[in-house]
C-alpha cells in the first residue's frame, strides 16, 4: 500500500458531503474520479486524514441546458461529457478539449469537477473554463456561492475553493450565434500527457464573415490557464484575415510568462504559444465559416 493511512467515507448526498467537510475541515480531501489525487497520494504528496468519496452521489452527475448556459454536475464523468451530442452542439470546446485528456481508462473515471478543482495549469478543462468564462458553483454547510473562472483559479494546483466547500456545478456559456467555430490544440510529449502548451479559441462571425465575438486562451504558460479577452476583442469587426490572427497569437504569446522544465524551455514554450494560438484561431475561423 503506497498511500499513507486514512479513513474513508462515502457521501450519499451533497448535503452529507458538506456536513463532513464542515466537521473535518482541511484534514479531509474530496475524492472525485481520483485520477490525479490517487497518484498524488501514492507518492505521498498529499496525506489527508479523511477521504470523502463523492462518486456515489447521483445529484452531482447531470447535464442540463438553460437558454444560454450548459450546467454540468461536478461529478459528471469526462467520458459522459465527451459522448454527449447535445453538449457537443452547444459547447463544442468540451469534446474538443476532452479528446486530449488522458486516455479512455482515465476519462471513464475522471470527472469534470475533479479536473477543475485540481487546477493543473497545463490541463485542458481548466483552460476552456477560462476561455469560455465558465462559472463554478461551490456549496458548503453555510450555503452556496459562484465564482468566475478568473477568480476560481488562484495559482498552480490552487483554487479559491474553501476547505469546507464542495464544487457542485459548472456553468458553461453557450454562444447563441449560428456561425460559431471553436478549436483546441496542444503539443505534449505523448498524446494524453499534460500539454507543454495548449491553445483554445472560439469565434463567431456574421453573414459577411465579419467577427462578432472571439475568445482565446493558452495553457501551460503560467501559474493558471490564461484567457486573453482584450486581445481577442481586437478581432471583433475584422474579417479575421491571417495577419490579424497572427498578430493576436503574437500578442497572446508575448503576454504570458512560461517557465522552463525538463520537457521544454521557456523560449520553446513561448514559441509554441504563438504557433498554437494561431492554429487554434485559424481552425476556429474555418469552422465558423463552414457553419
Amino acid at each position: 500500500m503506497k498511500a499513507a493511512p486514512f479513513e474513508y467515507v462515502r457521501a450519499a448526498s451533497v448535503g452529507e458531503a458538506c456536513e463532513l467537510l464542515a466537521r473535518h475541515g482541511d484534514t479531509a480531501k474530496i475524492l472525485a474520479g481520483g485520477q490525479s489525487l490517487v497518484p498524488m497520494m501514492a507518492i505521498r504528496l498529499v496525506r489527508p486524514a479523511w477521504l470523502l468519496d463523492i462518486n456515489e452521489i447521483p445529484a452531482l452527475k447531470f447535464v442540463k441546458f438553460e437558454k444560454d448556459v450548459a450546467r454540468i454536475g461536478a461529478g459528471t464523468r469526462q467520458c459522459a461529457v465527451e459522448r454527449d451530442q447535445a453538449l457537443a452542439a452547444r459547447v463544442p470546446l468540451l469534446a474538443q478539449a476532452l479528446a486530449w485528456v488522458g486516455h479512455l481508462q482515465t476519462r471513464n473515471r475522471g470527472t469534470v469537477g475533479g479536473s477543475l478543482a485540481h487546477a493543473d495549469p497545463s490541463a485542458e478543462l481548466p483552460l476552456i473554463a477560462q476561455v469560455l468564462g465558465a462559472r463554478m458553483l461551490m456549496r458548503s454547510a453555510k450555503g452556496a456561492r459562484t465564482l468566475d473562472a478568473t477568480e476560481f483559479f488562484a495559482g498552480p494546483m490552487t483554487t479559491a475553493v474553501h476547505p469546507d466547500e464542495c464544487l457542485e456545478e459548472i456553468r458553461w456559456p453557450i454562444w447563441a450565434e449560428r456561425r460559431t467555430g471553436s478549436a483546441f490544440t496542444e503539443i505534449s510529449v505523448r498524446h494524453g500527457d499534460f500539454a507543454m502548451v495548449a491553445a483554445a479559441a472560439q469565434i463567431a462571425i456574421d453573414g459577411d464573415g465579419r467577427c462578432t465575438r472571439a475568445a482565446l486562451g493558452l495553457g501551460g504558460v503560467g501559474g493558471t490557464p490564461l484567457a486573453f479577452p482584450k486581445i481577442a476583442a481586437r478581432l471583433v469587426g475584422t474579417k479575421l484575415e491571417d495577419g490579424a490572427l497572427q498578430d493576436a497569437a503574437q500578442a497572446a504569446a508575448a503576454a504570458c510568462e512560461p517557465g522552463s522544465d525538463l520537457h521544454a524551455t521557456a523560449e520553446y514554450r513561448r514559441h509554441l504559444a504563438r504557433v498554437l494560438a494561431a492554429r487554434a484561431l485559424r481552425a476556429a475561423r474555418e469552422k465558423a465559416t463552414a457553419a
Binding site: M1, A3, P5, E7, I43, Q105, G192
Partner: protein
C-alpha cells in the same frame, strides 16, 4: 495504530467476493493479493502504464487509481473473466496468440481489457479507433503493430461467429 478495515462486497468475474480492506488498499492489490487473481498486472502504480486495467461496471479503468473500498457494490471484470466459461481462451485472447500480439506479456492483461472493451462497444473498429483505445497502455516489446493486428483479427472472427 491499527487501521480501520472496511467491509466490501464486489462482483468479480461474475462471483460475489466479500472482503475487509484498509481504505488505502488499491483495487489492483486487493484483486492480486487477496483474491489471488494475478492475471491483472501492476506496472507503474500511478496511472501511466495501463497494465492494471480492469473493467468496472463494463468500462475499462485503471485498478491502481481506485481503492478497493470504492469498488464496493460494483462489478469488476479482470483478464481472468475474459476466458470462456470452460476456461479456454476467448476469441480475442486466441487472436493475440496467433497474431503475436505479445512478447513478454507484461502489458497483455491491460491490452486485452482495453481491446475487449472496445470490441464490446464497437465490433468493427478502424485501425485509428483501435490505436486510440489502446493509447493508454504501454508496450515495450511489440511496437503495437501486432497488437493492432490481433484486435483486427479478433473483430473479423467475432463477426464471422455472429453470422
Amino acid at each position: 495504530m491499527s487501521e480501520t478495515l472496511y467491509t466490501i462486497e464486489v462482483e468479480v468475474n461474475g462471483k460475489r467476493r466479500p472482503g475487509a480492506v484498509p481504505a488505502r488498499l488499491s483495487l489492483v492489490d486487493w484483486l492480486r493479493d487477496e483474491l489471488r487473481l494475478t492475471g491483472t498486472h501492476i506496472g507503474c502504480e500511478h496511472g501511466i502504464c495501463g497494465a492494471c486495467s480492469v473493467m468496472l461496471d463494463g468500462e475499462p479503468v485503471r485498478a491502481c487509481l481506485m481503492y478497493a473500498v470504492q469498488a464496493n457494490s460494483h462489478r469488476v471484470t479482470t483478464v481472468e473473466g475474459l476466458a470462456r466459461p470452460d476456461g479456454s481462451m476467448s476469441v480475442l485472447q486466441d487472436s493475440f496468440c496467433e497474431a503475436h500480439g505479445l512478447q513478454c506479456g507484461y502489458c497483455t492483461p491491460g491490452m486485452l481489457i482495453a481491446s475487449q472493451a472496445l470490441l464490446d462497444s464497437n465490433p468493427n473498429p478502424t485501425e485509428a479507433q483501435i490505436r486510440d483505445a489502446i493509447g493508454g497502455n504501454l508496450c515495450r516489446c511489440t511496437g503495437y503493430q501486432q497488437i493492432v493486428e490481433a484486435v483486427q483479427l479478433a473483430a473479423g472472427r467475432m463477426a464471422k461467429e455472429a453470422k
